[in-house]
């Protein structure tokens, strides 16, 4: 049994489209394999579970060499929205859910969802600012307690 993963904790620390999806895919995929899973949102990753913001997650069009686009072009007004729109259409065509739908589905799979207390305090947020699927706001110590005995994936 030593070569199977029984439990994972996935940390999402970034608030861009490309910063959030990988962690969601790792978490959802873990549940699909029957692995116990917790998602922990910290820093700008909190936008993924922020009621007002989770439907407006953008792709980073500046400082993102992966786009293979001139830096000055990425800074043009509206560029982040255009690139995000393009990426979202592509994601949808592959039948990958939007971020809000994906998070709702992952919660339905039985994964735990938690917000990081330090970041919540930093951004002056409260439990009500988050979507209903978020179970609790927890400290880093509580995170380690919940993560005990499993693998930790930081994204």
């Amino acid at each position: 049994m030593g070569d199977t993963i029984e439990k994972v904790s996935v940390i999402i620390s970034k608030g861009s489209l490309d910063g959030i999806y990988p962690g969601l895919i790792m978490a959802n995929g873990a549940r699909a394999e029957g692995i116990e899973t917790n998602l922990f949102f910290t820093f700008f990753g909190l936008d993924a579970i922020n009621r007002k913001r989770h439907e407006h997650i953008k792709l980073a069009s500046v400082g993102n060499p992966g786009l293979h686009m001139a830096t000055w072009l990425g800074g043009f007004p509206g560029m982040a929205s255009i690139m995000t729109h393009y990426m979202e259409r592509h994601i949808e065509s592959l039948d990958i859910p939007s971020i809000p739908e994906f998070i709702e589905m992952i919660a339905d799979t039985g994964a735990g969802m938690y917000a990081c207390k330090a970041s919540v305090d930093l951004f002056r947020l409260e439990k009500d600012d988050f979507i209903d699927q978020v179970q609790d706001i927890i400290t880093v110590g509580e995170f380690y307690e919940r993560a005990a005995g499993g693998e930790i994936i930081f994204t």
């Binding site: 895919i25 995929g29 699909a32 029957g34 859910p97 589905m105 799979t109």
Partner: protein
């Protein structure tokens, strides 16, 4: 290639226990494979998922993902995980005698 005996018939399975030839599967084999995979009692709700998996595979040549199951099988995602705690798409595919789903979502 390893083989297993289900309901008195020898079938060829892959390393991970999934059927190599879905046409070798019969309904009588399902409860035995289910028990082996930790699902002791195949209820009508389990069957709804297993039958949907098989029908989709036969129609499309692809094993459905959990998301598709949740959208189209008539069993919501939450219940899918109650029925198949160790992974709905994976277990239902195994029980339905079709290949392991290869979707990342």
């Amino acid at each position: 290639m390893p083989s297993r005996s289900y309901a008195g018939v020898d079938v060829e399975v892959g390393e991970d226990g999934f059927f190599v030839h879905p046409e070798q599967w019969t309904e009588e084999m399902a409860p035995v494979i289910a028990k082996e995979s930790g699902v002791d009692d195949l209820t009508p709700r389990h069957w709804q998922v297993v039958n949907f998996m098989r029908a989709q595979y036969m129609a499309k040549g692809d094993s459905p993902s959990v998301r598709l199951l949740g959208k189209a099988s008539g069993v919501p995602v939450k219940e899918l995980y109650e029925l198949f705690p160790k992974g709905p798409a994976k277990l239902a595919a195994k029980i339905a005698g079709i290949p392991k789903p290869r979707s990342c979502i």
